[in-house]
Amino acid sequence: MADPMLELRDVRLVYHRGRVDEVQALRGIDLVVDKGEFVTVVGSNGAGKSSMVQIISGAAKPTTGKVVLERRDVTGWPDYKRAGFVARVFDDPRVGSAPELSIEDNLALALARGKRRTLGFALRGHRRALLRERVARLGLGLEDRMHDRVGLLSAGQRQSLTMIMAGLVAPDVLLLDEHLAALDPATAQRVLGLTAELVAEMDCATVMVTHNMDHALRMGNRLLVMSRGRIIHDVSDDAKSALTVSAVVDLITGVGDVVSDRSLLTELENAE
């Protein structure tokens, strides 16, 4: 039944190799994520979470090691070539969409993710209807503003739109790197709900990096704790359900890492 969608095999990533400012961002990551698995990733700043996400997306190439998507070795593939398998939502809401283009144009761009782009019209009648219907599900009224520039939207609206864009072509792997970090708490809550809905529909392998311990525990069925370029804890299913926020904080600080103020704040909020 195990159906591996994503595999990292002894992945190491070194920045500025051989220079005085050499950084070992990843020091041997082994990871297999199955179809339908939803992994949340926590760890202190600089633990290598974003580096791991970039290795999976192809934005960074491993110094050594292999990346396998759907049993295909894609280590040498650049990110745009992997886009047919991998959908990404970035931490900065401005990165996921093009501000000069309309909502509709942005969606149309995502509708062809990973496919060969043709000289056919990007927006044909039935596509317009489909996109409108998808956007309407957000309940933000954006379906009546399909021709507005995305630059006019708020951060929360843009990030919601990016989530919809990620799901237009069902990916094999969905990567979310701190995708709620730039949102106010209420908006973050709403986009979190949207995340859960989309993930449930897509049946892909999901990797969600977060600094919010509560989100890390509530979402998904597997939790990774990273520290200094390694995965130091890998907790699944029942064991994960049994974890508390303070237990996760202990897992991180147990190796001498610090938990950022942001994470502690959310812990306090949740304790109240």
Binding site: L101, A108, L109, R117, L152
Partner: protein, 318 residues
Amino acid sequence: MLINILVDTLVTGLPLVPVVLGVFIVLQIRQDFDLTVEGSYAFGGGVAGILIVAGVNPVVAMIAAAAAGFAAGMATTALTLFLRLPVLLAGLVMNMALFSITLRVLGLPTLSLAGMQTIFSAVAPAPGRAADLATSAVLGGIVVLMLAAFAVFLKTEVGLALRASGVNERMVRSQGVSDRGMLILSLGMSNALSAFGGALTIQMQGYADVNMGSGVFVLGAGSVLLGMLFLNPGGSQVVRIVLAVLLGGLVYRLILVAALRFGLPAGDLKAVTALTLIIAVAAQGYLAPAVQRYTVRLRERRTPANSSARARIGASHG
């Protein structure tokens, strides 16, 4: 006087609209500087000129010119992709090389097309003013067709990817669009258009000149910036792009023609070209926000139903 200025603007400005469009593609859409367009403008003029003098059908000559410009763009792309030169430097290098190549093609620094069959041959025999108007009509038809075709292209999947690629590279890559592909496409199209403009220009003025490309980039960039100034950020992006190119190119030309008509020596034209660009850049910075506020208010009056929210958002961004 006024009529003369307008007709001169059309006759000398319309052949440059393809160049403005070419500069627009790289400068505004890709947010990069490609100086190859100067070289490919003269190269296109040279290729079309030599073919026309050899008696080739002028339409075929223009297509050959565009192909030559495309090849020049590919050379710049190759320098960028394989030697990792920045587009700016690669274009500068190619521009120099193209000077010698154009001189080789022409054989002489200037080549007269007197008495040859051009796209204007049918209308040329008309007397003075009528000939100018007929020339403008032919040019106008070509330019409108070209802009319409480009507008359609921008609405295709490839065109949409191109529009997004300059603004947000990370996003476009994450959607599966290759930067290399977009670079090839944009530099190829822009130089083909520039060469096509050169081919129109030589037929309009009756001769090809190896130096004719000098200053064309600044002229194109100035036109683009001027064009952007006229247009509010709302509405269809495709329509805005096409109008900015057309209006920018013609208004820029109008300024130069008016300066000449009011007695400015021809030698000072380059200074006017440069000055207009500087003013356009300054106006972008200082005037654009004000213009934007004004246009938002206009739109509010037109569609009172749902635009107040938009106006509020627009104002906070402006």
